[in-house]
């Protein structure tokens, strides 16, 4: 059964359910939502800057997407169409739990189609289809501080951001190249936003980093455990850190295709068949994969 069919069934089952009684629309109280919206406005005004906010208790544990969830709940409207993905997949436990929760407390429609959604919450992937200016992508962030690798002190990293003192981050990359001949960061690749702040793009693969650059969409990043919100407004420059003689490059899937939909232009997950030991590749973005299959086998 396709994810989409399963969701339709689920929706029919819950058809006459109304948002749960005793809770305000969108679960959080109005004061909390207002504070988060104000933090989001500040984050949009200073692209890449980490805005501290009072992260609320959520009915899921910290570190399981509470930062993204709080942004989603503070933005959601009754007529929104929501998509939630976890590493590209619409059907993983974390994604299903969050979308069920938001649907319960806000009564929104749920979809797996990137183009149909108005609000997308994601963990560690950006959808393959280019998103429009009318959509918002909310990313869950475990570690918002890109400089944490090189500096353990929060006070010091804040000073470094304030003074744009980023030579130690660059030194980290220099040492990587001297030791291994290339930059070995595979995900959480640091980027410079709007020519000013170095920002952690959350643990998205390198493949997704170019999608942040001059996009039409608003990207919001929420770290619930670390209590930070930051943003990339539409049409903002986002440059991965690179050297003139060691350019940034994305994962290389040349010669490989999705075993399910045949796509050759998507980020692929490698799956090893336990019985036969055969290696196969599948689209990481399950919604896009479903859509492609449906297109040639309706």
């Amino acid at each position: 059964m396709l994810m989409r069919e399963w969701l339709q069934k689920e929706a029919q089952l819950r058809n006459d359910e109304t948002p749960i009684a005793g809770y305000p629309f969108g679960f959080m109280d109005e004061g909390a939502k207002k504070e988060i919206r104000r933090s989001i406005l500040k984050a949009v005004a200073i692209p890449g800057y980490q805005v501290p906010y009072g992260s609320r208790e959520m009915p899921i544990a910290r570190g399981w997407g509470t930062g993204g969830l709080q942004i989603t709940l503070s933005l959601v409207k009754p007529d929104d169409v929501l998509k939630v993905i976890d590493q590209g997949c619409d059907g993983s436990v974390n994604a299903v739990n969050i979308k069920k929760f938001v649907a319960t407390v806000a009564g929104v429609t749920i979809t797996t189609d990137t183009r149909a959604a108005t609000l997308i919450q994601t963990r560690h992937r950006i959808p393959e289809e280019r998103m429009s200016g009318r959509q918002i992508l909310v990313l869950q962030v475990p570690y918002p501080e890109a400089l944490r690798e090189v500096e353990p002190s929060e006070m010091e990293t804040r000073r470094m951001h304030a003074e744009a003192d980023y030579s130690r981050m660059w030194l980290f990359l220099y040492e990587d190249i001297v030791k291994y001949g290339e930059i070995t960061i595979s995900y959480r690749y640091p980027v410079t936003v709007n020519g000013r702040y170095i920002m952690d793009p959350s643990p998205i693969p390198r493949w997704d980093v170019p999608k942040l650059h001059m996009a039409d969409t608003l990207f919001l990043f929420g770290a619930g455990r670390e209590k930070r919100i930051y943003a990339i407004p539409p049409h903002t420059t986002v440059e991965p850190l690179e050297f003139e003689d060691h350019k940034f490059r994305t994962e290389n899937f040349s010669g490989k295709a999705c075993a399910r939909c045949g796509a050759t232009d998507t980020y692929l997950d490698e799956v090893i068949d336990n019985a036969s030991g055969e290696r196969r590749f599948f689209c990481s973005d399950s919604g896009y994969c479903d859509k492609r299959r449906l297109a040639w086998n309706p």
């Binding site: 304030a162 003074e163 003192d165 030579s167 660059w170 030194l171 220099y174 001297v178 050297f243 003139e244």
Partner: protein, 290 residues
């Protein structure tokens, strides 16, 4: 000739301070600790000029304020009072706003923001500390330590940075083929050479040397001093040489100032100070030289 930097009334106080701090501390009182409020007057009303291509010596006993002076000028510590002005000919392109009023000298550099001070430091200054642990990252490769300064100055080409680092390490007689090893693999003398190469990497105008040869054995000391003397003429450096060793000062510096308890007690040509010391403390210092 006009001085490159003018320093006037530079003071650094640690502690709350009181109205009697100034009269209760100084060389006459043999202390820089105010007995009334417990503040330490580490530097008190220090004024001097530093010229282009000049090596200026600072001598004095431990706790006389020599290193404090260097840290104030290198913007590591905030001065309590005083002005530091730079001549227009220093030509710092990235900070045109400090020469805004059209005069030959900049506004007070101590009043700049941290961001501006960092850029000024990256563009114009180099420092070599007595202890290599202060100036180097011991776990990062020696070449990387030099690259850090270049990265701070906006270099973004690995090949060019490695070439520059190799050139500098060659000048300081460091085994270039070992440039990818961290400084902790090397002896104190070699670490000091990496520090000097790092300090020179951004073509500074001003080099601060804070007791560079203390703790090195005599033959290494002589080679490092020789190196510094050659570098000064080669790179047209202005140097502020802090030492308690009069031999080092005699070898490197044309002019010298003698500090005691945070004050400058004598200032003049190095030869003059060593041959004919005027102040009681300088006489003691010269007489006790082995």
């Amino acid at each position: 000739m006009e001085p490159l930097i003018r320093i006037r009334g530079l003071s650094k106080r640690f502690g709350p301070g009181c109205s009697r701090c100034l009269e209760a501390t100084g060389p006459e009182q043999h202390t820089n600790l105010c007995p009334h409020c417990g503040s330490v007057m580490a530097c008190n009303d220090v004024s001097f000029d530093l010229f282009r291509n000049e090596a200026l010596g600072v001598v004095g006993e431990s706790g006389s304020g020599k290193s404090t002076l260097v840290r104030l000028l290198h913007f590591e510590w905030e001065a309590t009072e005083g002005t530091v002005e730079m001549h227009r000919s220093a030509g710092i392109a990235s900070l045109p706003e400090i020469f805004a009023d059209g005069s030959d000298y900049s506004s007070n550099l101590l009043g700049l923001s941290h961001f501006q001070k960092r850029r000024l430091r990256n563009a114009l200054m180099g420092i070599v500390y007595q202890n290599p642990h202060l100036g180097l990252r011991m776990q990062v490769s020696s070449g990387g330590n030099i690259a850090e300064r270049l990265l701070g100055a906006g270099w973004r080409h690995i090949g060019n940075m490695r070439q520059r680092a190799a050139e500098l390490l060659k000048i300081t007689e460091f085994p270039v083929e070992r440039m990818d090893e961290p400084p902790c693999n090397f002896s104190g003398g070699m670490q000091q050479r990496v520090q000097i190469a790092k300090a020179l990497s951004n073509n500074p105008l001003i080099l601060f040397l804070d007791e560079v040869t203390t703790g090195l054995d005599l033959s290494v000391q002589a080679r490092v001093l020789d190196l510094i003397r050659n570098l000064r003429s080669e790179f047209n450096l202005s140097m502020l040489v802090v030492s308690h060793d009069l031999g080092v000062i005699n070898l490197l510096c044309q002019r010298t100032m003698v500090m005691k308890s945070g004050h400058v007690v004598e200032f003049g040509l190095t030869d003059q100070i060593l041959q004919d010391p005027q102040h009681r403390y300088t006489q003691l210092l010269v007489a006790s030289q082995l």
